[in-house]
Amino acid sequence: MSLGKLGYYNPDKPMENRITDIGPPHYYVMFPPVIKKNYGKWLYHEIVETGIIKRVSETGDTIWVIRCGAPRFMSVEHVREICDIADKYCDGYVRFTTRNAIEFIVTSEDKMKALRDDLMSRKHVGGSYKFPIGGTGAGITGIVHTQGWIHCHTPATDASGMVKSVADDLFEYFRDMKLPAKLRVSMACCLNMCGAVHCSDIAMLGYHRKPPIVDDEWIDKLCELPLVVAACPTGAVSLGKTESGLPTVKIKKDRCMFCGNCYTMCQCTPLADKEGDGVVILAGGKISNRISPPKFSKVVVPYLPNEPPRWPSVVKTVRQIVEAYARDARKYERLGDWAERIGWERFFEKTGLPFTEKSIDDYRLAYDTYRTTTQFKYTEHAWAVSKAVGGI
């Protein structure tokens, strides 16, 4: 244990005892004995109740994996509580999933039941569950997300607050498996998208809508101007001069699509704005190769306002999509497969989301997304067009 401000580090001899390039701890040290013994020997699994997976090995061993939802942002106190539980029931081992769930592994049904009851009984003083069990099968898992206003410099919205609000609302689908297939909801607070939100059944994405403001006085001192120019994918940024003759950049505002890439390169071109920023909802993506190939999520709602702390418009919109999907899709059909089968016109009709011109691509290769067939379905959208040209 190293105590004191500097610990093991000696600033006068910074290289002394420095260990580098050692990578992560070896995974094998972290495997519980039952995993070491049954590695590669698992025969099958069965979800015995929502959130609890029984796994059976050819050695005859059986384990129960209890999956709990977690906010990915957590304190050491929360992690210590996880450790207390893992020490009590799981011989001191625990694992986490890619979607930020906590998995406790036990080796008897009795322990499974005791642990299950224990987990569900633990609540924060504020009232929420600490370790809700769920997120398996045809339901939703935890919503993976990014940092938001808690810790990033480029977000167009908050992550943890919005995700908490949506997860509260969709809790019944986390605790039960009553959807046609699994539904993956993801959230990213800017276009950098730390996370695979672009291939999610439902994605919430923070987006700016005002072009950058240029900090003319400082930009040449703090940034490499040619790099800022080169950063812009639409060529909206060019070199220029301020009235007093200082080198700066000019923004062609009508060519900006608000990606924030210039700001990533240079702190003197901020985009964030109370009224400009908000949330895009995308739907119909997936990453699994099951039945149909992986798909991108598509823009179905181009903008919803930022409404902290509870983001009611986002919550309502996501629920609208989930409920229409739950009502209408066939067993095993992922949200995107459903939308493709019924047609996107029907998707907008059934979800009740307004279709706007913003869902029509006008970026590169936009034409690839245009429909070039006479196969379509009649919906109100179609009649509106017919009427507009006096066709009916």
Binding site: L43, V76, C83, V94, T136, H153, C199
Partner: protein, 487 residues
């Protein structure tokens, strides 16, 4: 690898860590703990109820309501715990969690972030793993004026001993904010919030006491990650943990010292279900597959049909979907329509199967992936920045995945050499392939084209023929031409 082979491989790797790298391979909490039991249990639920944050945070308190675990409730608990720790047992501002909540509340009012553009900070000799962060409201929130992030490389597929986690918690609460992401999107545990002077001491603690290194950030190899693989999943077709570990270790230099045009990600999925999203997120996606036949237990198939085993491992138990119908639920949904069921026997035309996993997912007790397994390798996925999102493209259909993965490393080296030579600043591999062409990429890695690389052949005939491909070459004179075709 079998469990027995893995044990041997692991033993050697752990020995190497201990003897060659000179690091601790097993953490005992009692040996490295910083806090006493009394210090750890220094508050009650009553204290949390009575807690008043130093800032007004009405919007955040709203987020304590509802069933989903509240990050606000959790942060408050940490704030209480920190308040009650002795002053000499926290080196980062004691009230930093309260300041963080205060600043978040301010963002909820302003609807804008209050974090500045990151400064360049790090540990000596590394160009990644630490991300600088400063508040732009330092006067109001002095406890988080600097709030840098450290990425801590996770063990493959995120199994942990509680000894390790507890030790990490102590170190991080002592030298940092006690707040973290478990885990960040790339896979590391992300420690959120410490000051510059604590970065080196943190790094020394991590490497000396926990035997763990920082992860990647910036224009370098990002921390590779993998699915739970054979440790827990019957579908896994290669040793995801081992391959992830081996490549992470082999490319430590590329992970810590940025020399790339932009970030580069490896992700390892044991099967085409793609639980770690390699196909959407990795510049190089490794996905398990097989080339022989799906193993069928006809008896078990009949048990599914008879309704004795719930389909899809019980994934649809929350709703009444009616009796299992193998024709509708499996045969008809098979994307290559290569299955047949005559009421007694299930037949699969394996050479037509595209290994989508559907039938196996539905009847895991009757169908198993093949035994001759390996990996498919796909390249070029990325999120929309800059040129729009891309998914990985199928490039290597099948390759054996065997230690020490030399064939894969050779491939990686070729790809990187080209990308580092030709890639522009902030150009991901997928964009480079797009800018040059898939043909060029195939030339670089030395593989022939195959129809599996495309959805369909091109519909425009604008082929960039090379001169040597056309008989007689391109050098012609107009005089010769005019002899045949007078002006």
């Amino acid at each position: 690898m079998t469990a027995e082979e893995l044990a041997k491989v692991a033993e050697e790797a752990i020995k190497y860590r201990k003897e060659e790298l000179g690091v601790k391979t097993e953490v005992k909490y009692e040996e490295v703990r910083i806090y006493t039991d009394e210090e750890l249990k220094n508050y009650t639920d009553e204290d949390i109820k009575a807690f008043k944050c130093k800032h007004d945070i009405p919007d955040l308190l709203e987020l304590e309501k509802g069933p989903w675990p509240s990050f606000v409730s959790d942060a408050i608990r940490e704030a209480v715990h920190r308040r009650n720790l002795p002053d000499d047992k926290v080196l980062m501002a004691k009230d930093c969690v309260e300041d963080l909540l205060g600043q978040l509340q301010l963002s909820y009012i302003d609807k804008e972030t209050h974090w500045k553009h990151g400064g360049i900070v790090g540990v000596f000799g590394y160009g990644g793993g630490v991300i600088g962060r400063y508040s732009d409201a330092q006067e109001k929130f002095p406890g988080i004026w600097a709030f840098h992030t450290l990425r801590i490389n996770q063990p493959a597929s995120k199994f942990y001993t509680t000894d390790y986690l507890r030790a990490l918690c102590d170190i991080w609460e002592y030298r940092g904010s006690g707040l973290m992401n478990v885990h960040g999107s790339t896979g590391d545990i992300v420690c959120l919030g410490t000051v510059t002077e604590q970065l080196e001491p943190m790094f020394f603690d991590l490497t000396h006491d926990l035997g763990v290194d920082l992860g990647g950030s910036g224009s370098n190899l990002r921390t590779p990650s993998c699915c739970m693989g054979k440790a827990l999943c019957e579908f896994a077709m290669f040793d995801t943990q081992d391959m992830c570990y081996e490549l992470t270790m082999h490319y430590q230099d590329e992970l810590h010292r940025p020399a790339f045009p932009y970030k580069f990600k490896f992700k390892f999925d044991g099967c085409p279900n793609c639980c770690v999203a390699s196909i959407a997120r990795a510049d190089m996606s490794y996905i398990g597959t097989w080339r022989d036949e799906i193993r069928i237990d006809q008896e078990a198939v009949r048990a599914y049909v008879a309704g004795e085993i719930p389909p899809n491992a019980g994934a649809h138990a929350g709703r009444e979907w009616g009796k299992f119908d193998i024709q509708r639920e499996v045969i008809d949904l098979c994307p290559s329509k290569c299955m047949e069921w005559d009421g007694k026997v299930l037949k699969i035309d394996n050479k037509e199967c595209v290994r989508c996993m559907h039938c196996i997912n539905v009847m895991p007790r009757a169908l198993r992936v093949g035994e001759d397994t390996g990996i498919s390798i796909l390249f070029g996925a990325k999120a929309p920045i800059l040129e729009g999102a891309q998914m990985s493209l199928l490039t290597i259909p099948f390759m054996k995945s065997e230690r020490p993965y030399d064939n894969v490393k050779e491939l990686v080296d070729k790809v990187w050499e080209w990308w580092m030579e030709e890639g522009k600043n902030r150009e991901r591999l997928g964009e480079l392939i797009q800018r040059f062409s898939l043909q060029k990429f195939l030339e670089v890695i030395g593989v022939p084209p195959m129809p599996q690389m495309i959805k369909e052949p091109r519909s425009n005939p604008y082929v960039f023929w090379k001169e040597e491909e056309v008989p007689g070459g391109w050098e012609r004179t107009i005089e010769e031409y005019r002899k045949r075709h007078p002006r």
